[in-house]
């Protein structure tokens, strides 16, 4: 299981815990990171650049560390 998928699961967990609109949050993170979170699977390869962008976006939007 790749780091990107783990990050995606953590985001989904936070969305569920906070009762946020999943599509909207994922959409914002996807647009900022440059990858479609909806299509990230356990075996999806990690792109370090995009992963870092995702972390930065999560930090800003959700105030969490991925």
């Amino acid at each position: 299981m790749g780091l990107t998928y783990e990050a995606k699961r953590k985001v989904e967990q936070v969305i569920a815990e906070r009762g946020l609109n999943a599509a909207e949050v994922k959409g914002k993170l996807s647009l900022r990171s440059g990858m479609l979170l909806a299509f990230v699977k356990p075996d999806s390869p990690d792109d370090p650049v995009k992963l870092e962008k995702l972390r930065a976006a999560a930090r800003e939007l959700l105030q969490i560390e991925l």
Binding site: E24, G27, S30, L36, L37, F39
Partner: protein
Amino acid sequence: MLGTIKFKMIVVIAITVGLGALAVTWRFQRVYEDNVRLLSRESIRSAAAAFGDLERTSTDLMVASLTAFLRDPAIAPAVAAKDHDRLVAISTPTFVDYKARYGLTNWNWWEKEPDGEAAPRALRNIARVQRPEKFGDLVERTATQRIAAEKKLVTGLDLGFTGLALRALLPVEQDGRIVGYVEWGLELKTFLERMKKLSGDEYGLVVEKSAMNREQWASTRKHLGDRDNWDDMKDLLLVQDTAQDPTIFQHEGTIADVPEDGEALEVRERNGRTYSRGVFPISDMAGRRIGAIFVLHDLTALQSEMSESRQHAIVTMVVLMAVLALVLIGVFQALVVRRLERMTRVATRVVGGEFDLEVVPAAGDEIGAFETLFEQFRVLFVALLEQTQGEERSRDERAGRGS
């Protein structure tokens, strides 16, 4: 917030409102100045017309009354005898009455010129009814010169020691022979007071100092209990006025500079009030320009009214612009901002996995065209994703069978 179109619109509207207020203020100032010029010209025109009317009616009154008075058979013998006391006694009751009723200020009895002198420069005074103690002196004036030369009714303005007066002179005859002359006079202060009562304006009569005698003027002012104002102005002398504060008639020009139909001079602030100043010339019975009448028209009420109207107009304009701004911002919000925000939200959620979220064009306008384009783009994007997903699934399945 600072970068939004809404904020930029608010800034543009605020600037427009400010410029509008400035334009209204400027326009009102121009209207005020135009009105001041108009009123000033009108006050000069009215004053000149009133002065002309008063001159005519006063002349008619003096001539008619004097002619009737001269029918008294006791008069001609007293004039012929140069009987000062008798003439004063006969004249005083009428003088007191006419002074109170019509403002008669001068009543002079003159000796006939010496025989053989057809056009004397001066006549000797028999009696001044208004000042009985002063008589017997030779007086050189246009009026006396004319009556002595013409031997018939003479009327008009004439400059004397006490200032300018409207005079009417008639010969006094006994047995068909001229034995002397009588003169009635109204000092122009009476005119000015009457004009003030009619118009509410203040008036000041100014003459050139060169036409006056310094010592005689000082003596007259002293006799009347008035301050000697000879040095108040360089070339001009204020001889009569209706104002509480005569310094408001100060002028550095000359009588010769005043146009024939008068001139509006300027607007002055004094003791919290605003006045427009104007002037028109007057001529004596010989047609010489001998003085000018300054007219002060109080503009305080007009100025206050204009200022109030200007404030109302600015407030009304600002309120209207503010309402218009709110309406424009509301319309802009509904027609543009909300629809763009909705498209942004839809795009975000589609990317976030809600692929079946549609954008329905709200209207057939420019934003509607963009909504339609956006929806077409979304459909293509979703189809591309499904195609990619399908290909990935097929590859995975092939890979699964191969292993």
